[in-house]
Amino acid sequence: MEDVGSVVAFWALAVVTLGAALVTALVRDLVRAVVALVVSFLGVAGLFVLLSADFLGVAQALIYAGAISVLIVFAIVLTPRAARDNAETGMRWPALVLAGALAGLVIAVAVATDWGDGAREGFRETASAIGEALLNRYVLPFEVASVLLLAAMLGAIVLVRED
């Protein structure tokens, strides 16, 4: 992160990500909140790309900005009218405390970790490395995750069955 371009890009992306996240939390209209959330997701994708994690960046854009946001939209449209605004609820303070604790944890880990800046090489392709890791070393968690997803899907089908 020595060159000017990376630093500028990092700060721009950080501002976009955090600003959009703030808008998500503060704006009253739920659909606007979703749009801001998508911007925030895309900002995180940009940060991944900046860290040479190309696959993660694209996957973030595909899954979060493309798919999860659509799911949230579905949830909003299917909820009754009364629940459609982003008003304050009793969960405000617990949520704030939880978010603060999470942020503190992430920052603590980020500060404590030795990132090995000096030893970093140039850009390397990560897609094949991730694929190898998922199907060799981490094949069990990978399979467990897919079984979990399958169970969730079957559960959803059972829940909405008519007869």
């Binding site: 659909v31 606007r32 854009a61 493309g66 798919a67 659509v70 579905f74």
Partner: protein, 415 residues
């Protein structure tokens, strides 16, 4: 960068001209980042110009061809054969008033037409028009295409939601529902391509097809078929343009838009169509290669010829097929295309394993796979169609749920 002689007049790679200009600038003492930024801007502007000019051309071609297919004339008043019609239309669109509904959510209403164009143009960055002639040859190019195009849906939803019009909202909901269904099919159809080529970089995919002299359409006919269908749904082209079906819901999500805002939606639709055609050409039809012709003809000309040919296919589909009902479209994605695509990925993986494990020569193995895959495609489509068709709920409906809910009259089907 370029495999060719980098003379600026070498038309086989238009990047040479840009390269020569940038070199001239950097020789005058401009710092590196200036040339870097300039090259990016030139690439983006060139792609944008190409997209808009192609769109203008294809508005005319599409209307004339559709007229021909529907035994009528099509536009023929402005200029010879009506060739200036798109320009007249463009001027009209620019000059028209842009109305905002009173109850609209103004921020989203104003943002949506802009946001819907952005992904359509961004996705054009990864396509290699000829060797080296690419704005950004990402090593995750295949995924990038899906990721970027999928973000357009949220803009479409914004447009439909913010218009505060029930037909707009219907269109938006349909578009969102279709995306969820056909995104899966599209990704699975694309997935089989990197299985064969071993790389998601579009340049490598083209190089692989050139190297083995085998366009992937011969190895992946089923994948291409499913991708064409899923893409026609994703870019809202008839016969699956139910998000803006004018016979049912006025104009769907852009009912309330007029003037240049409506023009932006049209632009996005066309550019997304070009992007889909470019994806098909690059991944399945050999990109800028044409069995040695690329030695003599600039690669980008071959690429564009294939691209326009593929786009013509979409016009043809629009002129031929009737619009599909939304429940049919949904059922088709989940019950027909999805299982076939899962099988297709499995098949591609098996073939790749057979190829690498036996170490057979490509000349022997690839034709065998091609014949096998074409036979399997035909068998699967016919067989699965028979099975899934027999299971469709329409065939065994016991009680007409929706009709009764809305108080309609239901006629018992004849036994």
């Amino acid at each position: 960068m370029s495999p060719f002689l980098a003379e600026w007049w070498d038309l086989r790679d238009l990047g040479n001209l840009v390269g020569a200009i940038l070199e001239w600038i950097s020789e005058r003492g401009a710092p590196d980042w200036v040339t870097y930024v300039l090259s990016g801007i030139v690439g983006i502007v060139a792609v944008l110009l190409w997209a808009i000019l192609s769109q203008l051309a294809f508005i005319w071609i599409e209307r004339r061809v559709l007229g021909r297919m529907q035994v009528r004339l099509g536009p023929n008043r402005v200029g010879p054969w009506g060739i200036l019609q798109p320009l007249a239309d463009a001027l009209k669109v620019l000059a028209k008033e842009m109305v905002t509904p009173r109850n609209a959510d103004r921020v989203l209403y104003w943002l949506a037409p802009i946001l819907v164009v952005v992904p359509a143009i961004l996705v054009l960055a990864v396509f290699p028009f000829s060797p080296g002639m690419v704005v950004a040859d990402l090593n995750v190019g295949v995924l990038y295409i899906v990721a970027v195009t999928s973000t357009a849906t949220i803009a479409v939803f914004m447009a439909g939601w913010s218009s505060s019009n029930k037909y707009s909202l219907f269109g938006a909901m349909r578009s969102v529902a279709m995306l969820i269904s056909y995104e899966v099919v599209q990704v699975l159809a694309l997935l089989a391509v990197p299985v064969f080529t071993g790389s998601m970089r579009l340049g490598d995919v083209v190089a692989w097809q050139d190297n083995y002299n085998a366009w992937l359409v011969f190895l992946q006919p089923l994948g291409l078929l499913a991708f064409i269908i899923a893409s026609a749904v994703e870019v809202n082209r008839s016969p699956s343009d139910i998000a803006e079906a004018e016979s049912e819901i006025v104009a769907g999500y852009h009912t309330e838009y007029g003037g240049i805002r409506w023009g932006m939606f049209q632009l996005a639709e066309y550019v997304a169509g070009f992007a889909v055609a470019a994806t098909i050409v690059t991944l399945w039809l050999g990109g800028w290669t044409l069995w040695g012709l690329e030695e003599w003809v600039p690669g980008w000309l071959i690429f564009l010829a294939k691209l326009y040919g593929t786009f013509f296919l979409f016009i043809w589909m629009r002129g031929t097929l009737p619009r599909i009902r939304i429940d049919q479209l949904m059922g088709f994605a989940w019950k027909f295309l999805l299982p076939l695509m899962l099988l297709n990925v499995l098949l591609a993986g098996l073939e790749k394993v057979v190829w690498t494990e036996t170490g057979a020569s490509a000349g022997l193995v690839l034709p065998a796979f091609a014949v096998l895959n074409f036979a399997l495609t035909a068998a699967l489509i016919v067989g699965w169609g028979a099975i899934a068709g027999g299971l469709s709920p329409r065939m065994r409906a016991k009680r007409p749920l929706l009709v009764r809910e809305v108080g309609g009259i239901y006629y018992q089907p004849l036994p």
